[in-house]
């Protein structure tokens, strides 16, 4: 970032920091989905401050795990939350939980950075745009929140869970993962493949039963 921090921090923002009391370890309150909607509807700075305090430190931790330095990870967390502010009107809680939406923004920024493509704006406006066609297998899994996935993860074998966890948390190739676990590369890939297919199947079953419920209600 090439701008001067002191120039930017005006008195009005100092006031918000003081009001919310979130700048120094204050406990964030409020459901994140509601906070994003408040940003979308009212450009609510206090809501943004809460959301920032809640997510930026987690994004920073995540990105440091993916191989970024503390400074790079901090910048990425800043940029991701800035995009949350700018794109809040595209957030639809019926399609993705707040965490999933924020994660997908950060992930997009991260891989764009990795590709070092100097395109100014590569984030699609609406990362969770509705599917143009309604094929039977596209029941939106966006409605599922991250907690649901956490539960589904528990249905995997410990070995499967480990390769999934490493793939998301560590900046390791499948070969590196094989080495770390002292198992053949083919085993890493097949475990990963099985785990992902299993999660997907569970995901779709839940999505279908959910949409079936909605349909029966509307009859």
């Amino acid at each position: 970032m090439s701008f001067d921090r002191d120039d930017l921090i005006g008195s009005s923002t100092r006031m918000i920091v003081a009001e919310t009391g979130l700048s120094r370890g204050g406990r964030p309150v409020g459901v994140p989905e509601a906070l994003i909607l408040r940003i979308a509807e009212g450009r609510d700075r206090a809501a943004y401050a809460q959301l920032f305090s809640q997510y930026a430190p987690k994004l920073k931790a995540f990105m440091m795990g993916r191989g970024l330095t503390a400074i790079e990870a901090e910048d990425l967390a800043q940029d991701a939350l800035l995009n949350v502010w700018r794109k809040a009107s595209y957030f639809d809680p019926s399609k993705a939980s707040a965490t999933t939406w924020i994660y997908s923004i950060a992930r997009n920024l991260h891989i764009d950075g990795l590709r070092k493509q100097k395109r100014a704006q590569t984030l699609p406006e609406d990362l969770w745009a509705p599917e143009p066609e309604q094929a039977p297998d596209t029941h939106l899994i966006g409605v599922q929140d991250a907690k649901t996935i956490g539960v589904l993860m528990q249905t995997l074998s410990p070995e499967q869970r480990e390769v999934v966890r490493l793939s998301f948390f560590e900046d390791l190739s499948h070969g590196d993962i094989a080495q770390a676990l002292s198992i053949p590369l083919g085993t890493v890939k097949s475990r990963l493949r099985l785990a992902l297919l299993r999660l997907r199947a569970a995901f779709e079953t839940r999505a279908e039963s959910k949409s079936a419920k909605i349909e029966s209600k509307s009859v």
Binding site: R5, L8, I9, G10, S12, T13, R14, I16, V17, L22, S23, R24, R45, Y48, A49, F52, A56, P57, K58, A61, G65, E74, A77, Q78, L82, R86, A96, T99, T100, I102, Y103, S104, R107, H110, I111, R119, A120, Q121, E131, E133, A135, D137, T138, L140, I141, D145, A146, I149, G150, M153, V164, R165, S167, F169, L192, R193, L196, L199, R200, F203
Partner: protein, 217 residues
């Protein structure tokens, strides 16, 4: 569009999601995603998996003035993004019904690899040993049996070809890996494919090897 029957491998999709593919492989994945709701769903699943891990992660403190900086940044007017100028479609691609991601990519001038076969390489910075190109084959041709030196992904854009494992239509993706060998047969219509190969040997040599035995039927 007919339904897509041959999807990207979940592990490749996950590598795309993790940003571990080179530019050409990413283009191929993005093009398939553009055409395939099934694989788009997988990508959303991956976002949800990542999010579940984000929920449980032990946070790392941001800098002391991070929130002040964040609040200051949202006060700044948003800079208009630089308009992205799509590269002009080369003459040899005009009139072909192409996915957006292929249209937006830049390809070098085409060259003829064999009678009835032309190729055009992706104009991307050299990235490892990867090699990505469009390959256009005249309808009715057959490629004699050839084997693969590493992972090679082929995405059908127009036309159709088949091998002993099945028939591939637009949007379908076939991956070959080391040791695989097959003999693709091009259907009646001309077939255009996007190919991303991890070639362990020099590009020209590999292509020469691949194309040398081409025969017109």
């Amino acid at each position: 569009m007919t339904a897509i029957n041959h999807h990207l491998d979940e592990v490749i999709l996950l590598d795309y999601h993790r940003g571990r593919l080179n530019a050409g492989q990413s283009l191929l994945v993005e093009t398939h995603l553009e055409m395939c709701p099934h694989c788009r769903t997988s990508l959303r699943l991956f976002d949800a998996i990542g999010a579940s891990m984000l929920e449980d992660i032990v946070p790392v403190d941001m800098a002391d003035d991070a929130l002040e900086l964040a609040l200051a940044r949202i006060e700044r007017p948003e800079e208009a993004p630089e308009p992205r100028v799509a590269p002009e479609l080369p003459a040899y691609l005009k009139g072909i019904d192409l996915p957006e991601s292929v249209r937006a990519a830049a390809f070098k001038p085409r060259y003829w690899g064999a009678p009835g076969v032309w190729m055009a390489h992706l104009d991307a910075p050299k990235d490892g040993r990867g090699l990505t190109y469009l390959m256009h084959v005249k309808g009715g041709m057959q490629m004699p049996v050839h084997d693969h030196q590493g992972l090679e992904m082929t995405l059908v854009l127009t036309g159709c070809f088949s091998d002993d494992r099945g028939a591939y239509h637009p949007g379908d993706c076939v991956s070959c890996d080391e040791g695989d060998h097959h003999s693709p047969l091009i259907a009646a219509d001309d077939c255009l494919c996007l190919i991303a190969a991890n070639a362990p040997i020099a590009p020209k040599t590999l292509l020469g090897k691949l194309l040398q035995p081409f025969a017109r039927i």
